[in-house]
Amino acid sequence: MKRIIHHDVYIGIFMLLISLFLYSMTGDMPEGSAFFPKIILTIFAFFGVLVFIQGVRKSKVYNSENAKKMEEEIFSFLKIKTPMAALLIVLVYVALLKILGFFSATSLFIIAFMYFYQVRSIKKIILTLIGVNVFVYLLFVLQLNVAFPKGLLF
């Protein structure tokens, strides 16, 4: 059987690395500014160690006979393929905001996201699309004078 490592082990290491990195940056700071970060990062590193230890313990349980008793599900990127895909769509949308302009990027996003959500009814997509754009335009642009990024299109 493959040895399971609980995700807390990685998170603990990650927390330690982050605190080391941020701590190293306090060197450039004036005394008064460095004081608080140093304390907080030390605490964070300490918690990192605790989480790591917790992870090691949990891993042991998983690998022992008692595995079934554990309620917590082990995190793995394989299980969250769909959310990651959704996240990708969001990232592309945000990147396009400045290039295409707010309203065109938003329209594209809604189509893509709903298609991704397996909505195949064109009527539904179009209605949502129009509804959101009109609402945002009425409330934010007309009423509240928010200047959205304009980009190439609209």
Binding site: P30, F135, L139, L142, Q143, A147
Partner: protein, 339 residues
């Protein structure tokens, strides 16, 4: 879902009616003129479309409020709408960077606040390469001199002389709106020239400092005339001196530090208008002319005076010289700031 949307539409409708009817019942003349005026302007001339005015602070703040009082009068002169866009952040530099990077076509201008703008690049930790010389200057709007005040029932200090004598021997805490703020620099200037021991307590904004002094936690209110006049008149504080070349018309009884014999110690916070670098001269001239006329609008001057703010129009060389002096005065205290 449908019902929610209907609700939203109703609400928006109500809001727009209200905005419309409010404008209609109270200031019909002003609003109508600004909307009808564009038609009279010849199409080929600048400005052809609305102008964006970047304010580097949040809506409702001092700069924003002042801008919104002035701009309707500029609209009348230029015949196009001027829209305020608030771009707060980075001590004002988010908005100023945006202004510097905007196209120099005359359709984006902005407010510059000094000396905050200078401290933003004179502080080496900020690593900025833009300076006041990069802006195309239009003109100054508000000039608010520094004021020194104490809590009204603070018996230790009846006059500015009492305060300074005491502060020469003892550490006295003062309010400050942050490291390198005009209030901070003012306290350092007094320390430097008179030998006092004022210790600034940096806080966020003037209201923080006001609360500190009224509560008796901080000894002295180092602020601007615009912030000190109202508490002075309400009897909550006593202004002891102002840091200006001459007395303020809002506080005619209060002496200046200079006339009390402490030397030319001036402090101010000023805000004016600027455009991105490389704005063509003809457009600049047009903007300057429009703002110059708008400054004199009685309604504008009255409203600013109600707020305790001095309208001080400066343009061209005069404004440039003023800003360079401003810069020089920050550079002078550089060592004291530890930069």
């Amino acid at each position: 879902m449908k019902k929610i949307i209907a609700l939203l539409v109703i609400c928006l409708f109500a809001l727009s009616i209200l905005a419309g009817c409010g404008a209609g019942t109270n200031t019909p003349a002003e609003k109508d003129e600004s909307k009808e005026a564009p038609k009279e302007i010849k199409k080929e001339e600048y400005p052809k479309k609305g102008i964006t005015v970047i304010v580097s602070y949040s809506a409702g703040g001092g700069t924003d409020t002042g801008a919104r009082i002035l701009l309707p009068h500029v609209e009348k002169e230029l015949g196009v709408p001027l829209t305020v866009v608030n771009k707060p952040g980075g001590g004002g530099w988010v908005g100023w960077n945006e202004l510097l990077n905007a196209e120099a076509d005359g359709y984006t201008i902005g407010y510059i606040n000094t000396p905050n703008l200078m401290t933003g690049y004179l502080n080496p930790a900020m690593k900025r390469d833009k300076t006041i010389d990069d802006f195309t200057l239009i003109g100054n709007h508000v000039l608010d001199y520094g004021a020194i005040a104490v809590k009204a029932d603070d018996d230790r200090f009846q006059t500015i002389d009492d305060l300074i004598e005491y502060a020469k021997k003892n550490e006295v805490t003062t309010t400050s709106t942050g490291m390198g703020s005009d209030d901070h620099i003012a306290a350092l200037k007094v320390n430097d020239s008179v030998g006092t021991k004022f210790v600034p307590v940096h806080g966020k904004g003037a209201s923080h400092g006001k609360a500190g002094v009224l509560g008796g936690h901080i000894d002295v209110f180092f602020a601007n005339v615009g912030e000190a006049t109202v508490p002075h008149k309400n009897g909550e504080m006593r202004v002891l001196a102002i840091m200006a070349p001459e007395r303020s018309k809002f506080l005619p009884d209060i002496p200046t530090l200079e006339e009390k014999g402490y030397g030319k110690i001036y402090s101010w916070s000023a805000r004016g208008l600027a455009a991105p670098p490389g704005l063509p001269q003809d457009k600049l001239d047009k903007l300057i002319a429009a703002f110059e006329k708008a400054m004199d609008a009685p309604e504008h001057v009255k409203k600013m005076e109600d707020m305790g703010l001095l309208v001080k129009w400066m343009k061209g060389e005069e404004y440039k010289k003023f800003l360079k002096e401003d810069e020089a005065s920050v550079i002078k205290v550089r060592d004291l700031l530890g930069w």
